[in-house]
């Protein structure tokens, strides 16, 4: 029997609403792309000691800030005017959280760019340079994968980001050891060593923001809030207190 349900119809009755949501999605994907490009550009400037290039990257962050504000404004409009529910509500909540995550990653790129001038004159050892390049590669990969998961609504991809981030964390640890070994051998000053250590921390944080984005994507797709170990511990304590 051929049964045509009304729901087989693909008619869209809230076209403008959903178009605006698609616009926000495109804005966020663009912002994620800008961050990924920024990570590569700032890494190149860092390794080349290119202070001029770093200054350009710092200036470019204004554009990201503007896009963040515009996207947030659109989300506020959608919440105020469209009363979103279900997947629409989850999408807008995800978008709002993601705007902060991406914008913060952009700030970290800027922070790395600011370190370029402070590291002027430091001679980086090949091992340290190699580790910076590998951290760059991982940070770009994590950011791009998180944005792919968001753009494609791919909860499966989002769920592996946390494990992928372990690679960056390990690289970061290795890098810190190398930086201070380099200092102990008298290759770089303590000021430069500390500055390099802070730069490593910026890469590591960019990875964490990508993982946060992935967790929100999982929420968007499944409706399940991501589990946090600390929150679970607090919940268990609260339940115990109530007993």
């Amino acid at each position: 029997m051929i049964c045509a349900t009304l729901h087989d119809m693909t008619e869209e009755v809230r076209t403008e609403f959903h178009q605006l949501m698609d616009e926000v999605r495109a804005d966020l994907v663009q912002m994620g792309g800008m961050v990924a490009e920024g990570i590569s550009a700032v890494s190149a400037a860092l390794l080349a000691g290119d202070i001029g290039g770093a200054d350009q990257i710092i200036a470019a962050d204004d554009e990201l800030d503007l896009l963040s504000l515009e996207a947030e404004e659109k989300c506020v409009q959608l919440l105020a005017l469209q009363q979103p529910v279900a997947v629409d509500l989850r999408t807008i909540l995800t978008d709002l959280r993601m705007i902060s995550e991406i914008e913060r990653s952009g700030d970290l790129v800027t922070n790395i760019a600011k370190a370029v001038a402070r590291l002027h004159g430091a001679e980086l050892e090949p091992r340290v340079r190699g580790l910076i390049d590998r951290m760059r590669e991982q940070a770009v990969k994590l950011t791009a994968k998180a944005m792919d998961a968001y753009a494609e609504r791919d909860a499966g991809l989002a769920s592996v980001l946390n494990d992928m981030d372990d690679v960056l964390d390990d690289l970061h640890n290795e890098y810190i050891v190398s930086v201070f070994a380099s200092h102990e051998l008298g290759k770089i000053s303590i000021q430069h060593a500390v500055q390099l250590a802070v730069v490593g921390r910026f890469y590591e944080r960019i990875g964490d923001h990508a993982v946060n984005v992935a967790e929100r994507v999982e929420f968007l797709v499944t409706g399940e809030l991501p589990e946090h170990l600390g929150a679970n511990r607090a919940r268990a304590r609260r339940e115990q207190d109530e007993m």
């Binding site: 029997m1 051929i2 049964c3 045509a4 349900t5 009304l6 729901h7 119809m9 693909t10 008619e11 869209e12 009755v13 809230r14 609403f17 959903h18 009363q83 979103p84 529910v85 279900a86 997947v87 629409d88 509500l89 989850r90 409706g223």
Partner: protein, 325 residues
């Protein structure tokens, strides 16, 4: 008095004639006479409010496990002649909760609402298959008096429909027919109007025509009239669709208050309203067969907070997010 007997204290034939004379819209509210109101208050051990054992009743997910079940519907089909308007609806309605029925036009939600107080009996050729138990009593067994059912299960309609009488007489009509003494009527009128959040606005003009009230006030008057006969359940069929946002807000506040004393089932086209006021939401949809006959069905029944954040069925999500017509 056990619940079963309480529903069967009237001679069905005698009461049915009362109803058939009344217009469709006012029938349930006019048909107040049942067991004397004093024996069927909203609390106490008498009447239908004696709790039945519901330990074996399947509750919907998320429903309060300790909530009493007022209605248990199993495999309900509704036919108008040969035409099946609604099929296979099974759900339980919990006591002192607001249950919202939503869905596109023609999905059978109003038809289903009318099953709860046997209003479909008033439509020629209408037939209800399956079972609806009300506090454990099969509503559609022969011995059940539909008029008594309608006193216990009152109804408020889309359009306010006060009687062409004074405000006072609108409220006093049902209790008077039910045998409430003249000396007690004043208290019943004041109590009902107070519960319907209308008393302060009308206490100085009780003898004036109900038609002089605003639309929102008229609707609250109709709610007061419905609760004046001390029902157990109040059915509402799009009660705010003819009202402005302020009047709608008042009715919604009132519904939140009323659920402390009554079980409420509401049909609404306004999904935000369902989200705001209900505890449970039932989403109905409609399917057409190759002959073009459209039959309503229950798609999903779940706590409202779940339906509007993470519904289980893609059809529910499509409807509430406006992705289908």
């Amino acid at each position: 008095m056990n619940p079963e007997k309480a529903l069967m204290t009237q001679e069905p034939d005698a009461r049915a004639s009362d109803v058939s004379d009344a217009s469709d819209a006012t029938a349930s509210e006019v048909s107040a006479p049942g067991a004397p109101a004093a024996t069927a208050g909203t609390t106490g051990a008498t009447g239908v409010h004696a709790r039945i054992d519901v330990s074996g009743v399947a509750a919907a997910p998320g429903q309060r496990p300790d909530a009493g079940t007022v209605f248990e519907c199993a495999d309900v089909d509704v036919y108008y002649g040969d035409f099946r308007a609604l099929r296979d609806v099974s759900l339980d309605v919990a006591e002192h909760e607001v249950t919202a029925l939503i869905g596109p036009s023609g999905c059978g939600k109003t038809t289903f609402l009318r099953c709860f107080n046997r209003m479909n009996d008033l439509i020629e050729g209408a037939r209800v298959d399956g079972t609806i138990h009300y506090h454990g009593v099969n509503l559609y067994q022969d011995e059940v008096d539909p008029v008594e059912v309608r006193r216990r299960v009152g109804m408020v309609f889309q359009k306010p429909n006060p009687f062409p009488k004074s405000i006072y007489d609108n409220i006093a009509y049902g209790p008077r027919l039910a045998g409430v003494k003249r000396s007690e009527l004043d208290d019943v009128v004041e109590g009902s109007l107070t519960r319907a959040a209308l008393w302060d606005e009308v206490k100085d003009r009780l003898k004036m025509s109900a038609y002089g009230l605003s639309g929102g006030q008229q609707q609250r008057l109709c709610i007061a009239r419905a609760i004046a006969v001390q029902p157990d359940v109040v059915l509402m069929d799009e009660p705010c669709s003819a009202l402005d946002p302020i009047a709608t807000g008042r009715i919604e506040e009132l519904i939140a208050e009323l659920k402390n004393d009554y079980t409420i089932i509401i049909v609404t086209h306004n999904m935000q309203q369902a989200a705001r006021i209900s505890d449970m939401t039932a989403f109905f949809s409609v399917q057409a067969n190759e002959m073009g006959h459209r039959t309503g069905e229950l798609v999903e029944y779940a706590p409202t907070s779940l339906i509007f954040t993470n519904p289980d069925d893609p059809r529910t999500e499509a409807y509430i997010t406006g992705r289908v017509g």
